[in-house]
């Protein structure tokens, strides 16, 4: 961006009224600042950004910029109320709106936070709004501090394919540990691979890891995808292995530690499967269950299923370990437990469910433990 010094040195040629007019006319600042060789690529509105940022400029100048922006915002509200056809006819105003949003995006004037957020809420309600307009409005509003109250807006935007990445980053900014952040990442990955959404999910995942200072969430997400949709996982896996900065995620997701994690996931899978409604559970059961799992060693030749029983009169949690020897044991010997599981999850689940219903004595039950 052009240096602040260069711009400020040129300011003495302009009165506050002229600055206001330049803003209202769409930040037309050609000739505002001197050219330094051929190295400055930035557009003229960058000069206004630098003026606004400078602490030494007079209040009159700063006010004239803000007043110009407020005037433009008023016109934008009227503009968005027009029909789609009428909007297309007002190309000049579209460009002014986009430039205004860019100014707000970079300069982030406190005085315009209300306008930027209001226009976003308004724009989301407009039918058939041109993507470049909505995109500019979203980018500008995203610059201001977001709070939990703004989550519904971003939950709306994350469902829109052209802007979902902005929404994900906004949610990340509100709270990197936001409870649904991993679910959103799974959804976005699915949309990217299956629906061709124009987003770079590995980049978003990386940003999440940067904010959380850990790759754990990424690994959990990848493992969840492995369990839920093996075809999707294979496509994601291929994609991740093609980049040096993402291939390590695949290694982690498929590392020797996977089995223990997988068993936890299998358990959750069973518990959450509606058709196995005879399993009763609640959060207390899960906690007890995980305590058991953490102390276990996993034998890859067997598929361990943990089933939570009922609380008895002595307030104990009945945790049963079912060790079901898979009919595919020979294959399991040849390959990793994880790979076999991925490829045969449906078959295994049906097999175990059938055994559970018809020949429960074939299953090896574990001990009851104290909660």
């Amino acid at each position: 961006m052009i240096s602040q010094e260069e711009v400020i040195n040129n300011l003495d040629r302009h009165t506050p009224e002229q600055i206001y007019e330049l803003v209202v006319s769409g930040f037309k600042g050609e000739g505002f600042f001197p050219v330094q060789g051929g190295w400055i690529e930035e557009p003229p509105e960058d000069a206004f950004i630098q003026i606004y940022r400078c602490n030494e400029i007079s209040e009159e100048i700063r006010d004239s910029i803000i007043k110009g922006c407020i005037y433009l915002y008023e016109r934008v509200f009227n503009f968005l109320s027009l029909s789609s056809k009428e909007r297309i006819e007002k190309k000049e105003l579209v460009q002014k709106l986009i430039t205004l949003c860019r100014f707000v995006d970079i300069a982030k004037p406190n005085e315009l936070e209300g306008q930027a957020k209001s226009i976003l809420r308004f724009a989301l309600e407009v039918q058939y709004l041109e993507p470049k307009i909505l995109g500019a409005v979203i980018r500008a509003a995203r610059r201001y501090s977001q709070s939990g109250a703004d989550i519904p807006i971003w939950e709306d935007i994350i469902k829109r394919k052209n802007f979902s990445a902005y929404a994900f980053q906004a949610l990340l900014k509100i709270d990197p540990y936001y409870e649904s952040i991993e679910d959103h990442l799974i959804d976005l990955w699915r949309h990217q691979i299956q629906d061709g959404w124009p987003i770079n999910v590995p980049f978003l995942a990386r940003r999440m890891a940067q904010q959380q200072d850990s790759n754990d969430s990424i690994i959990r997400v990848l493992r969840a995808i492995q369990l839920e949709d093996n075809i999707l996982w294979k496509k994601i896996r291929t994609n991740l292995l093609s980049n040096t900065w993402t291939e390590k995620w695949v290694e982690s997701a498929e590392s020797s530690e996977i089995e223990k994690q997988t068993v936890k996931s299998i358990t959750d899978y069973i518990i959450n499967k509606k058709e196995m409604s005879y399993l009763e559970y609640d959060d207390d059961y899960k906690i007890g269950l995980h305590k058991v799992l953490e102390s276990e060693e996993i034998d890859p030749l067997y598929l361990y299923i943990h089933v939570v029983g009922k609380i008895d009169d002595e307030k104990r949690i009945m945790v049963h370990t079912i060790t079901a020897q898979s009919p595919l044991t020979d294959e399991l010997k040849e390959r990793t437990f994880k790979t076999a599981f991925d490829e045969n999850i449906d078959y295994l689940m049906k097999s175990i469910q059938k055994t559970f219903e018809e020949e429960p004595e074939q299953l090896i039950w574990g001990d009851t433990i104290n909660a």
Partner: protein, 263 residues
Amino acid sequence: MRIPSKCKAWAGQMDAGEAEGKILQNIKSDACIEKEREEKFFKLLIESDSPKDAEEARKQAINIVEKDKEYFTCSGDEVPSDIFKLLLRFQRPSSIGHSMPADKKEELFAKFGITSYNTANEEEEDFPLEYEDLKIITDEYDGDVVLGNKKSLDIVWVADFNNCESLLSGVRDLLIILGLDTLLNEKKDMCLILQYTRSKLVESLHVPRAFDGIGSPQFQVQSDCDAYHGITKPLENGYDGLPEAIHRGCKVKLEVFDVRRIE
């Protein structure tokens, strides 16, 4: 060029400024500009008010060239086709958005969920893009890159890759030799590197002359009218500078669009 007596006040102010003095020196040293262009430039300068300081004097000169850039710039000889086969250019990281056509930029930025702010901001710390982020972005981008700035002089300065290749391992030294102080002052300590073949360029490549460098004190004009290229003025003594050339702004498909650390 000989400075007309009516422009002595202007030349005096230019001489008083550090950067302006270097630009004035280029104007004086350049005896290769067509008489017609030279006369028009000074005629317009005479019509301007007397500048009150060096800064104003420089602005007057720039404004004259800028208002008729097609006439005043890129008028030097064409660079022979057997040199400058691979062109090299460095830019600020914040220019990444401006380097892409608007529609491509929006599409790319939306993919990553980033905004202009993330690339343009160099002072505040709020979810900034790091070196690796920018590298991923440039790796992903596969479209044309927009060079030059239509709203100013619209000149693109390039170095010859062959002359720079051995220096690319130390980007800081190369930037010093090329006189790119604005990049060295970047707080991000990184820069964009752009490489493209001359054969892909639709614009012709020229030897830069004094009017091309009217805003660029880091450029040293070649007094030899038969020179095959221009020459940079390094920021520090002890260097000879490197060959430079110019072309008009255009869109071009790059061979390399990457981010480099300035170390």
